[in-house]
């Protein structure tokens, strides 16, 4: 039935276009040439359209950079500056190439549009030219690869020192939990087979290291201290994406993955930064004009967030956790208020 409707609509549209083209044809002076092969006139017109098109393309690129690059989120971790630098160098380079190459493609299409009597140049080969445009990308890419690989190994090889805060990020359909190691600075053993009742993360209750572990629904991080995240999933693949910290790692059932960074900007600081004040003001204006929102949803205050970035089920789009970056003192105060795993199990 539905398929029939679609076919009907498509057919009607087809007929419409057919009729329009008929009218169009009738209103045109009778053309002597109807070979359906590009004529001199066609080449002239289409060649010029390539010029118009390159103006559109440049316009679109300028508009995008002018209006949309402001969405690029500010960085808030130690390697964010390095990441952004590499990103902007690469982006600058590819845009430089893009502008030139697109110009050549469209300019040539215009300049060499076919004309009666024009002779094309029989030009089949030139080893020198081909060498040049092989070697230039080789050198540029080699530089980019080496630069990138240095950053990569620096970011990925996190050294664990006395100062490092180890936090487990636990993912399940469709939420996150954070687990801190507590006073003994060691995460207790855990496996999904231990999940029972309040023990939602499957900690081994007989493991003494597990007793002082602290499980929370918000992620609090002290500013300036290296954090090493250990990721664990309960059911399917998830991906822990921290856009402001330029960090991401898949969360894989059956194995523990890891990623580390040092937060450098507290939530308060970023909230008061010029960029964020402007952005939040803008968002709140949009929200005030949105009739779908309840009165208490209209005012938005910026918080860092962690979101799921690997398709994980129907509510994938709403799997987030609030992140708070604060001073060491604030962090200590907060962590002391939290209940440890031992207290949790004793209570129940």
């Amino acid at each position: 039935m539905i398929a029939l409707l679609i076919i009907l609509v498509a057919a009607l549209l087809g007929i419409t276009i057919w009729q329009i083209s008929k009218i169009f044809k009738l209103s045109q002076p009778v053309e002597s040439d109807d070979s359906q092969i590009a004529t001199n006139k066609d080449n002239e017109k289409q060649g010029k359209l390539f010029l118009v098109f390159i103006v559109f393309l440049y316009g679109l690129m300028i508009y995008s950079f002018w209006e949309l690059s402001k969405f690029y989120a500010p960085g808030a971790s130690d390697h964010a500056a390095e990441y952004d630098q590499l990103f902007f160098i690469s982006l600058g380079l590819i845009m430089f190439v893009q502008v030139i190459i697109q110009f050549l493609i469209h300019w040539f299409s215009y300049k060499y549009r076919g004309q009666k009597g024009r002779k094309a140049l029989f030009y089949a080969d030139n080893d020198k030219l081909e060498f040049i445009w092989t070697i230039i990308p080789v050198i540029t890419l080699a530089a980019l690869i080496i630069y990138g690989l240095f950053s990569w190994s620096e970011i990925m090889n996190v050294e664990e020192t006395d100062e490092t805060l180890v936090v487990e990020i636990y993912a399940y359909q469709f939420d996150w939990r954070a687990r801190y190691s507590g006073e003994d600075r060691t995460l207790g053993e855990a496996n999904v087979r231990f999940i029972e009742g309040v023990n939602q993360l499957g900690l081994n209750e007989s493991d003494p290291y597990a007793q002082d572990d602290i499980i929370t629904t918000e992620l609090h991080l002290p500013v300036g201290r290296p954090v090493l995240f250990k990721f664990r999933s309960q059911d399917v693949l998830h991906s822990a994406y921290f856009p402001f910290f330029r960090s991401q790692m898949n969360v894989v059932p059956g194995m523990i993955t890891q990623f580390g960074f040092t937060p450098t900007t507290t939530s308060k600081e970023i909230r008061n930064s010029e960029y964020m004040v402007e952005k939040v003001r803008n968002i709140n204006e949009i929200r005030r004009n949105n009739d779908n929102l309840g009165p208490d949803e209209k005012e938005y205050e910026f918080e860092y967030y962690l979101l799921c970035n690997k398709i994980c089920g129907v509510s994938h789009y709403n799997m987030q956790m609030k992140i708070v970056v604060e001073t060491e003192e604030e962090y200590q105060k907060w962590i002391e208020e939290q209940q440890s795993f031992g207290e949790l199990t004793a209570q129940n």
Binding site: I2, L5, I6, A10, G14, I17, S21, Q36, I37, A38, G47, F50, L60, S64, F71, Y72, Y83, S90, I94, I101, I105, F108, S109, R113, G114, K119, A120, L121, F122, Y123, A124, D125, N126, L129, T134, P137, L141, G148, L149, S153, I155, M156, Q173, R193, D235, L237, S239, P243, R246, Q248, N250, P253, G254, I283, Y300, Y305, N309, K310, I311, G313
Partner: protein, 606 residues
């Protein structure tokens, strides 16, 4: 019996001795490569209409996530009740959209159509090495298409785990409804598809190697054939690995094995799986998945090489370099799969290796782009619709390829992985580019397929709206990706932080609707021209390759007389005689491959 046993010494006897084919033999269970090519094309185009319609529904949802539209209820039934799209069907749409476009349209629709049509015609063969295998290949593809489309009609919905169908999500019906019967149908469909693709590819390889006409050495092959040939080889190397992955996944799903699953607690119970790893599946999947990108792209590049040379009235620049870069791309494509997995949890050292191989692939790709541009330079460009789409391909291939330098860099991938930046990148570089290649091919070889011409003015309108729309959709999309917008989200309004991206999402959707509607010009032009198009002449584009030496009317065996001999490469356009006074053939700026070397001509490229 004695008649059949006679060797076909005389080609005319072959013609006359043939009985009149019945309707079923001619149009349905045909073993003629030209008919099979048309079957592939039409099936592929229908699948394309389905796949693109799905993306329209997704764009509608993303632009106005909190509004209801009656169209959801009409098209999606219970998944669109009250005009509100169900989140699960959104994921199903994105999954099936990806599957259909990648496999059914751009692999079978593109490779299947043009390999079948052009390999025998351009190398000078009467048909494929095995016409029967070719027919089986098409019918398996057809069955596979039916199965994948029918998965929309099962109770819990079709496969919804993304087109990559990563387990455990794809393995556990408890995790998402689509992973039940829908996912089983997906696996069945893809298994049949792989069988079809392998039969087709083996046939292409054998035909190119064995059935070339006299004089058609490998270095005289048109670049189209080189592209199809190498594509077939990549397919034979990588598709079986996907079959292995699919089989293991099927075992995990149905027989309780643990290849990809371990330590899972879902819906209040611990599952018995132990010791498997989803990362293993990712490796197997992308060992096909990445070469697949080139299986999609190389035929498009081959088609445009041919069309750009013909319509520039110039030889393709750097013929041997083009072949070398096809081979380099083919080789490298099998050693870069890990760049899809930089943040999958695999050893970071592997990430370094894959960054290296991935950025290497930019070199042959760059060579191809530069060679296209040099071919345009100082040409006499005949701006037919096919040529416009070919130039469009060069443009989108460059734009999309360049952002690959960002994604291929493991460091930079961390923050844009699985965001809209990726969507923008691969839609431009393989989606739009390969579609342009497909459309260019249809406009160019329509006279060969149907004996009639397509309307050029409708073709022009089709191209320009599509060109503006494609960039309008995908260029701004990079920026919402850089903002950190994840892909496969049913809506973005759960994060107030993304509220200011809503306008850009609407802009992208509007461009998408316009572009999709412009395809109706093509659909109309295609169908109308089959029946009422202007009758084509034998060689409308004044091309050098052998397919234009066959009569307009299709005959079994392609050439009524003897198979033509080949004396030269296919790119002698605008070649001058020794004294540089006239074209080699006076008054004609092209020299077909079956014309012997002339007296006053210098021989090149031998």
């Amino acid at each position: 019996m004695s008649v059949a046993a006679q060797p076909l010494a005389n080609d005319h006897a072959h013609e006359e001795g043939h009985h009149e084919p019945t309707f079923i033999e001619k149009y349905i269970f045909s073993t003629d490569h030209k008919m099979i090519a048309k079957q592939y094309l039409i099936t592929g185009l229908i699948m394309g209409v389905i796949g693109i319609s799905m993306s329209m529904l997704m764009r509608l949802q993303l632009a106005w996530p909190n509004e209801s539209f009656w169209i959801y209820e009409v098209l999606l039934g219970k998944f669109g009740e009250g005009g509100v799209m169900d989140p699960s069907i959104y994921l199903a749409l994105s999954t099936i959209h990806g599957t259909i476009m990648v496999f059914y349209v751009l692999t079978a629709g593109l490779s299947g159509t043009f390999s079948n049509l052009l390999i025998p015609l351009q190398i000078g063969a009467r048909d494929m090495a095995s016409g029967f295998m070719n027919m089986i290949s098409y019918w398996l593809f057809f069955i596979s298409s039916i199965v994948i489309v029918s998965s929309f009609f099962v109770e819990a919905g079709p496969a919804s785990a993304g087109w990559t169908v990563y387990p455990p999500l794809s393995a556990l019906p408890q995790a998402i409804g689509g992973s039940g019967l829908g996912m089983t149908l997906w696996l069945v469909a893809i298994t049949i598809f792989i069988a079809s693709s392998l039969l087709g590819s083996l046939n292409y390889i054998v035909t190119v190697l064995n059935l070339r006409t006299e004089g058609m050495s490998m270095t005289r092959l048109p670049l189209t054939i080189w592209a199809f040939f190498v594509t077939a080889i990549i397919g034979v190397v990588s598709f079986p690995v996907l079959l292995a992955a699919g089989l293991l996944l099927l075992m995990d799903r149905s027989f309780g094995t643990s290849f990809f699953l371990s330590d899972i607690y879902i819906q209040g119970e611990v599952l018995s799986y132990q010791g498997g790893s989803p990362v293993l599946y990712e490796h197997l999947f992308w060992f096909l998945g990445h070469p697949e990108v080139y299986i999609v792209l190389l035929p498009a590049l081959g088609i445009t090489s041919e069309i750009i040379a013909t319509n520039s009235r110039k030889p393709i620049f750097g013929y041997r370099a083009m072949i070398a870069s096809i081979l380099a791309i083919a080789f490298l494509s099998t050693v870069v799969w890990g760049h899809h997995m930089f943040v999958s949890g695999m050893n970071p050292f592997l990430g370094s290796v894959f960054t290296f191989t991935t950025l290497l692939i930019a070199i042959p790709s760059g060579v191809k782009a530069f060679n296209y541009i040099t071919t345009l330079w100082k040409g006499n460009l005949q701006l037919n619709p096919a040529m416009l789409f070919s130039i469009g391909l060069v443009s989108t291939f460059v734009t999309g390829g360049l952002t690959g330098i960002i994604l291929g860099d493991s460091t930079l991938d961390i923050n844009v992985h699985d965001t809209y930046f990726v969507i923008a990148h691969f839609h431009l570089v393989m989606g739009i580019s390969a579609l342009y290649g497909l459309l260019a091919g249809v406009y160019h070889w329509f006279p060969k397929m149907f004996g009639r011409m397509m309307n050029k003015n409708l073709g022009y309108i089709h191209f320009w709206i599509t060109a503006v729309g494609a960039y309008g959709i995908f260029f701004p999309m990079h920026f919402i990706g850089m903002a950190g917008l994840p892909r496969r989200y049913y809506k973005f309004t759960e994060f107030p932080y993304f509220d200011d991206l809503a306008d850009t999402n609407i802009l992208i959707s509007v461009f998408a609707f316009i572009t999709a509607s412009a395809q109706l010009f093509f659909v109309y032009n295609f169908i109308h021209s089959i029946f009422y198009g202007k009758k084509a002449e034998q060689n409308p584009w004044k091309s050098n390759t052998l397919e234009w030496t066959t009569p307009v009317k299709h005959i079994h065996g392609n050439w009524p007389g003897e198979i033509p001999k080949v004396y030269r490469w296919p790119y002698d356009y605008s070649k001058m005689n020794k004294d540089e006074t006239e074209y080699v053939i006076p008054g004609q700026d092209f020299v077909p491959q079956n014309v012997p070397i002339q007296e006053n001509e210098e021989e090149l490229n031998e």
